[in-house]
């Protein structure tokens, strides 16, 4: 039975993240006034399956942690505990912590033990503090817990010595895939387990059906495990057996049923807990994770492959498409076999069919990489919830067009800029409730996150109905900081763009949420690195909209091929502003060196591609013979001097770094129709190169 469990890890991680997301959205949707038990169930199930999975795969730290969450949730589910905002907040924190843990395990990196123990402690305090426990007694329990070093067992309330369990499985328990031995093994982890098998009911050998279970067990579990913990192990088999729990009591003192209102008595255990938790955590961090790390370091080097979930219908389309392609191919080869000139028409139509199928195939393959933008959006309700609570603002988040599809790589890279923009809207955009009321707006601010397709691009808009950008304030600030000239006559748009300048921040007060002036320039840089751009529409007093335009995919790019000597280069179409012909007379030299030319009101530097790339075979030595391609990259405009423009085409981007290395001024390569390789220009890189 040696199955390599590692092959299932990836699936487990994905399920974990899905479960965590479900838990998170469930927690956020909980309405304190009217608790929907179905939501609690959803949250509980999330925790339960993560716990089960992590136990199976041996990620004990995760299962121990989830266990505490689950205990808390279980009590809420059964109505033994009231759902409070504080408990929800603690649980939300734990969801985060759990996500970090899973991410760390997935990436083979160390789990941040201090954070884990912090959350564990918070959970334990929540668990022990408000609801359960008539814990009027004894220090011995914690001491005992420390000896057994069971950090996941925070319940010290019973002084029982353990549990006696009568476990009588029904005959067909084995058919449901349950294995009593596995249950015992799990039980044994909770404490010292003695099993006594009752074999009286086993029939005569000839009548024995090996698929039936005729054995009953009497189990004795010594240790500090609680009833929940024990009964939970039997959760899977509840319908398939008779179970009877009875407590083996150490003293005559009976453990009391959980009562919510006995909290006066408990300060003592809380203190004990606070002292205990770090110690036990230190104990595990010393032994277990280290052992696992060494084990994992053996497998290290095998990079976790990133995977993607694809809609089955997309795969079906793909298979259909391939089928069509095969048919076309066989038709063509039939024509080719006995080719006569009168079949020319057939051949032509066959080829055009082939072309159509190939294009469709390419499109549907690209489609596989497309994910709905909700992968990013779904994280924001939580973010808005957390930050608005912190800022004491009332904010509603509205999501529109979550199903808009975009390339997986874009989805992964757009998250950080969006988080930043939303934080900004929350912090600077939306006003405090009293100010809003005074301005005649509703107290609750609205942030709308909207995604839609427009002409081969995806547009993501973040709109808030806050106070808008104050043009005069921006300009004043920029002048103060020396970023613009005092007499500069800026248009509204130019003034708004000031916020993208490095080191620019107008917030009166810096908060830990935003406003350190290192954000917006990075946001713009990241978006431009994805081949997109960002624009601002704002009205004072009414609100601000940030609109991000992004290409749908990073794998294909609209390019303009240009000739430089014998060589062909691709200029990304998005960065081209225009192409013009100029004569030598229009050139100006700056300090005898740098060449510039005047385009309408601006002087633009010229980059001679032959010189910068050391191309030897020059066709156009004079300005009039070649063409100037005016390009813009990261806010810098310049003219590229090339021999001539060739065609515009969509090119598939290939990495130059896969087998080679990064080259300054080149962002990648592509394969042209004739099979040769053309390099794709990186405009900001070229500008840097020419400045050397």
């Amino acid at each position: 039975m040696s199955i390599d469990m590692a092959q299932f890890h990836q699936v487990f991680f994905e399920e974990c993240f899905e479960g965590l997301e479900a838990m998170e959205s469930g927690l956020l949707n909980l309405d304190m006034g009217d608790i929907d038990s179905e939501i609690i169930n959803v949250i509980f199930r999330g925790a339960h399956s993560i716990k089960g999975g992590s136990g199976t795969f041996g990620f004990t730290s995760v299962s121990e942690f989830t266990h505490i969450m689950e205990t808390l949730l279980d009590e809420m589910r059964d109505g033994r505990r009231k759902v409070t905002q504080s408990a929800v907040n603690v649980l939300l924190g734990s969801v985060d912590c759990l996500r970090e843990m899973v991410t760390a395990i997935q990436g083979d990196s160390a789990v941040d033990e201090s954070r884990v123990s912090e959350h564990k402690k918070a959970l334990e305090i929540e668990l022990n503090g408000s609801a359960s426990t008539a814990e009027s007694t004894q220090a011995p329990a914690p001491v005992k817990a420390a000896v057994v070093a069971k950090p996941a067992a925070p319940e010290f309330e019973t002084i029982s010595e353990g549990w006696s369990i009568a476990f009588t499985p029904y005959l067909d328990i084995l058919k449901t895939g349950n294995d009593p031995v596995r249950l015992f093994r799990e039980l044994a982890e909770l404490g010292e387990l003695t099993t006594t098998a009752n074999i009286h009911d086993i029939p005569d050998f000839y009548e024995l059906d090996p698929e039936e279970c005729h054995i009953a067990w009497d189990l004795k579990l010594l240790g500090t495990a609680t009833e929940e913990e024990v009964s939970e192990i039997f959760d899977w088999v509840k319908g398939d057996c008779e179970l009877e729990f009875s407590e083996i009591l150490l003293k005559i003192l009976k453990p009391q049923e959980a009562l919510p209102d006995t909290s006066e008595q408990i300060p003592e255990p809380e203190i004990v807990l606070a002292q205990l938790a770090p110690a036990t955590v230190a104990a595990i961090s010393a032994s277990e994770p280290v052992a696992r790390q060494t084990e994992e370091s053996k497998v290290a080097g095998v990079k976790p492959s990133s995977s993607i979930r694809v809609d089955t219908s997309k795969i079906d389309t793909l298979i259909n498409m391939v089928g069509e392609l095969v048919i076309t191919q066989s038709m063509l080869s039939l024509i080719g076999e006995h080719f006569t000139m009168n079949k020319l028409g057939q051949l032509k139509s066959g080829l055009s069919q082939l072309e159509r199928h190939t294009r469709e195939l390419q499109q549907s393959v690209m489609n596989i990489r497309m994910l709905p933008i909700s992968f990013v959006f779904s994280r924001f309700p939580r973010l808005v919830h957390d930050i608005s609570t912190k800022l004491e603002k009332k904010i509603e988040l509205k999501l529109v067009g979550e199903n808009t599809e975009v390339d997986k790589a874009v989805v992964e890279l757009i998250n950080d800029p969006l988080v930043h923009l939303i934080r900004n809207s929350l912090d600077h955009g939306i006003e405090m409730p009293d100010i809003r009321r005074a301005a005649g707006k509703s107290e609750t601010g609205l942030i709308e996150l909207k995604a839609y397709h427009r002409g081969g691009h995806i547009v993501i808009e973040i709109t808030d109905d806050g106070h808008g950008l104050n043009r005069d304030k921006l300009v004043k600030k920029a002048i103060e900081k020396g970023l613009v000239d005092a007499n500069a006559n800026l248009s509204d748009k130019q003034a708004y763009e000031l916020i993208f300048m490095p080191g620019f921040s107008t917030a009166e007060q810096l908060t830990d949420i935003s406003g350190r002036g290192v954000g917006m320039d990075v946001v713009r840089k990241n978006i431009q690195a994805l081949g997109g751009n960002i624009e601002i529409i704002s009205e004072l007093g009414k609100g601000t909209t940030f609109a991000i335009h992004l290409p749908l995919t990073l794998a294909i790019l609209d390019g303009q091929s240009v000739a430089v000597g014998d060589e062909t280069y691709i200029v990304p179409l998005v960065s081209i502003i225009e192409s013009i012909n100029i004569s030598e007379k229009m050139l100006n030299r700056i300090v005898g060196k740098g060449e510039t030319f005047r385009l309408r009101s601006e002087y633009l530097p010229i980059i001679r591609m032959h010189e910068i790339f050391n191309v030897k075979s020059v066709k156009a030595s004079k300005m009039a013979e070649g063409t100037i391609v005016v390009v813009e990259g990261q806010g810098v405009r310049c003219g590229l001097f090339v021999d001539e423009l060739r065609g515009q085409q969509q090119v598939v981007i290939k990495s130059l770094e896969a087998n080679y290395r990064r080259v300054e001024g080149i962002s990648g390569a592509t394969i042209l129709g004739d099979g040769s390789v053309a390099l794709i220009l990186d405009i900001p890189g070229l500008v840097r190169l020419s400045n050397r």
Binding site: K654, L656, V663
Partner: protein, 170 residues
């Protein structure tokens, strides 16, 4: 080719332990003979025009399209300062796999001609003599003598380690 193998074995005149045998692909650069471990050789192709990469050392000739992958081509003659010769249709490109760390790369090297696959007894490989700074021998993993010819065995990973820092020096 088989004959060649046998003659090698006869030459050594000793019982060769098969466990110690390693195979090398030998090729010529001018009058010198070099060898690379056969397991690193992916394929042998004829020379085809490359797309030049701007601002890189002269011996990095450019990149070609190898069934959809962008593969750099390096001229070993120029890399070893053995002078340049005209490329002809008979010029050979040996496509090698190099592994630096976890990353596998494919690169092509231009050589004058491929000679042979040779069996070499591991114990017969000598260390390259140290010429100090006069001759760079860092990518020569050893020397071996075959039929009185000296074959220099190349360490593929060191030879094709063309990372950014190195290029910046040029």
């Amino acid at each position: 080719m088989l004959k060649e193998f046998e003659s090698h074995d006869n030459n050594t005149d000793e019982k060769v332990d098969m466990g110690n045998l390693v195979q090398f692909l030998s090729f010529a650069l001018g009058k010198e003979e070099y060898g690379v471990a056969i397991l690193r050789v992916q394929e042998i192709r004829s020379w085809e025009p490359v797309s030049r990469i701007p601002n890189v050392p002269e011996y990095e000739k450019g990149v070609v399209n190898l069934r959809g992958a962008i593969v750099p081509i390096i001229d070993l003659r120029e890399r070893f300062n053995l002078g340049r010769i005209e490329y002809t249709p008979l010029t050979v490109v040996v496509v090698l796999q190099t592994g630096t760390g976890n990353k596998m790369r494919i690169m092509g090297v231009v050589v004058d001609s491929v000679s042979d696959v040779v069996n070499v007894d591991k114990t017969k490989i000598q260390k390259a003599p140290d010429f100090g700074t006069k001759v760079s021998t860092e990518f020569i993993s050893g020397l071996v003598s075959l039929n009185d010819r000296m074959v220099m065995l190349l360490d593929v990973d060191k030879l094709l380690d063309i990372d950014e820092e190195k290029a910046d020096e040029n």
